[in-house]
């Protein structure tokens, strides 16, 4: 006999944060690709178009938003009242689980690794990598944003991040790194969505909907 036990997996804060980041990242990639490789708008008078300026405005708007969302997520991983999950990002340090998961993904075993943590080992590694990339993108983005403004919050933040620009060796390199890391995020998104769908299909525990409802339905055979 099989029993299905619903278990709350994600707090409302984590879910809201997740979907807001999805929106931000989608718009950031679209606007960012335009800024990297803009197309010319031939028609109209220069003074009335301001298309690039508007695209950059929205890019910076969503960039600032994801910066705040990142801080929020960082806070939650340490101080969430539901489940502070910072240790789950280190699930990949459990070597037996990594081996089992590799065997599972290489079709050598049917058993997934023991669910000791919130994330599977490889999942935790990719999430950690994603968080590092996100931090890098926000940092390099802040540098490029601050370089063009003299006043307000951006100028204040730029004073803090300027040493990073000097250390890395100028805005040109900063921009290149920003572009490379965007590709990293795109690859992460492709794999992440695929894995969520795959787990949903294989285990039928409602993996995809859990990020909306917050509940995962654990199956146990008895």
């Amino acid at each position: 006999m099989e029993t299905i036990t619903p278990k709350k997996e994600w707090s409302a804060a984590i879910r809201l944060n997740h979907w807001l980041r999805v929106i931000c990242i989608s718009f950031l990639i679209i606007t960012g690709l335009y800024i990297a490789e803009p197309y010319t708008i031939e028609k109209g008078w220069t003074g009335e178009k301001m298309f690039m300026a508007e695209v950059r405005f929205w890019h910076i708007f969503f960039g600032m938003s994801i910066g705040l969302l990142f801080i929020w997520r960082f806070y939650l991983s340490f101080f969430s009242r539901f489940h502070a999950d910072w240790q789950d990002f280190l699930a990949w340090t459990n070597w037996t689980n990594v081996k089992q998961e590799l065997r599972f993904y290489f079709l050598l075993s049917k058993e997934p690794p023991e669910a000791k943590y919130l994330f599977d080992p490889l999942q935790s590694l990719s999430y950690l990598g994603f968080m590092v990339m996100l931090f890098g993108l926000i940092l390099t983005g802040t540098i490029m944003m601050g370089a063009g403004y003299d006043q307000g919050l951006t100028a204040l933040v730029y004073r803090i991040v300027k040493p990073v620009e000097i250390w890395i060796g100028g805005l040109a390199t900063i921009r290149w790194i920003h572009h490379i890391m965007m590709w990293g995020v795109i690859l992460f998104m492709a794999i992440h969505v695929n894995m969520a769908f795959l787990h949903d299909y294989l285990f039928k525990e409602g993996t995809v909907s859990s990020m909306i409802s917050g509940t995962l339905f654990h199956r146990s055979h008895k």
Binding site: E2, A36, E37, P38, Y39, T40, I41, E42, T46, G47, K49, M50, F51, M52, A53, V55, R56, Y105, L107, K110, A147, G148, K162, P163, I166, G169, G170, L171, A172, T173, I174, R175, W176, H179, I180, W183, I186, L187, A190, I191, N194, M195, F197, L198, Y201, L202, K204, R219
Partner: protein, 399 residues
């Protein structure tokens, strides 16, 4: 009643008054200390066809350039008169002498270039008449006479490979590093002119066989970096005038460049900036957009990554500058210029990877395609492998 604005203005006025008296004291002290003027500046200017009026206009421009209020104009003029009294030792290392050329040659003389002509060069490897042991004597004499008082201007990077033996000069075969260390240790200030001395430039670009480095990096000293390839003469003259006026070096940014000249990016005050914001780009050389003077961002303009005042000061008597002439900025005032700014006529993200034609975008698209194909195949295989389990789930619901 006094408003906040009044209080602020009064404070600024007091500060400027203090600065003014400091400058006056400093100029008085300098006039007592420095050697006699080599030339009378005003006679020199008249003989070159520059009127008193032109000179006064020049002082206005230079005062504004140094970010000082108009009350400083007489002091700038006074400092300019002292220009030829400041002893200068000018060293050349691994470079093309283009900076000297840019500073000394002009289509017709302006005040900046005349000032540089009158500069009291105790030692300049390309301009001096002396050669061999005689030249060496001049240098030794200058170092002894003006110990701790002269300005050391350095042009060119220092090769560090083979203990510096890639660059030896003089009758005694001194290495560049030894000479630089000897002279800079006795100088009142070290001004690096050009990107080679400031950041290494093409000598330090990959693969850098001579292990060349900037003066500041090779000798581990603080230098004033007048970056640019070549830099604008106004930036050098302004820095020396600042030294004469205030008795010290101007405020520097974290890369050693004077803030008064290198505070903003080329992009921030570019005359083509409105076209950037309006999404009007030159797509290829010589198209209609180029004729209309649209933005050169897609032609690889490095203005957004480059700090400098080229667009404000311009070159050749403010006739033109690269972006005005229709080619994008190359980013020559930035460290790592050549390596980080390549490809010069394409945007940064079209930088090729390890030679060849591949860019980060081709790599990204390829990887994304491979990932999508891979995860598709993997998902199919997983579904086949776990088919029995899927079957169990389906039947268990029916029960």
């Amino acid at each position: 009643m006094e408003t906040e604005g009044d209080a602020y203005r009064r404070k600024v006025k007091t500060q400027y008054r203090e600065l003014l008296s400091h400058c006056q004291e400093n100029l008085d002290r300098m006039e007592g200390e420095l050697p006699k003027p080599r030339v009378n500046l005003h006679e020199e200017l008249t003989s070159q066809g520059i009127s008193r009026r032109d000179f006064i206009k020049w002082t206005s421009v230079t005062t504004a350039l140094l970010m000082l209020p108009p009350v400083f104009k007489p002091l700038v003029a006074r400092a300019a008169e002292q220009f030829s009294r400041l002893p200068v030792v000018w060293l050349h290392f691994a470079e093309c002498t283009g900076c000297s050329e840019a500073l000394l040659r002009t289509s017709y003389p302006n005040v900046d270039s005349i000032l540089l002509d009158t500069i009291s060069l105790e030692y300049h490897e390309t301009l001096m008449a002396a050669a061999g042991h005689q030249a060496e004597q001049n240098l030794e004499k200058a170092l002894a006479d003006f110990n701790g008082k002269f300005i050391c201007v350095v042009e060119g990077a220092l090769p560090r490979g083979l203990d510096g033996k890639y660059l030896t000069l003089g009758p005694k075969g001194k290495t560049g590093i030894a000479l630089a260390r000897e002279v800079t240790s006795k100088a009142a200030a070290v001004i690096c002119i050009g990107s080679c001395a400031s950041f290494g430039n093409v000598q330090a670009a990959k693969p850098n066989p001579t292990d060349a480095a900037s003066i500041g990096w090779a000798l581990k000293i603080q230098t004033v970096n007048i970056a640019g390839c070549p830099p604008n003469p106004a930036n050098f003259v302004g820095t020396v005038l600042h030294y004469l006026l205030f008795g010290g070096l101007p405020a520097l940014d974290s890369l050693g460049r004077p803030i008064w000249a290198y505070r903003m990016r080329i992009h921030d005050y570019c005359e083509r900036r409105p076209h950037y914001d309006a999404a009007e780009y030159v797509e290829e050389w010589g198209d209609m957009a180029a004729a209309k003077g649209w933005c050169l961002y897609k032609m690889g303009c490095k203005g957004p990554y480059t700090y400098g005042n080229c667009g404000k000061v311009r070159f050749n008597d403010a006739v033109s500058w690269p972006i005005m002439a229709g080619h994008g900025c190359m980013g020559c005032t930035e460290p790592g210029f050549w390596d980080t700014m390549a490809p010069l006529e394409k945007p940064i993200d079209e930088k090729t990877l390890g030679g060849g034609e591949k860019t980060i975008d081709t790599l990204g698209v390829t990887l994304l395609g491979a990932t999508l194909a891979g995860i598709g195949a993997h998902a199919g295989l997983m579904a086949v492998k776990h088919r029995d389990k899927l079957h169990i789930y389906e039947t268990s619901h029916k029960e």
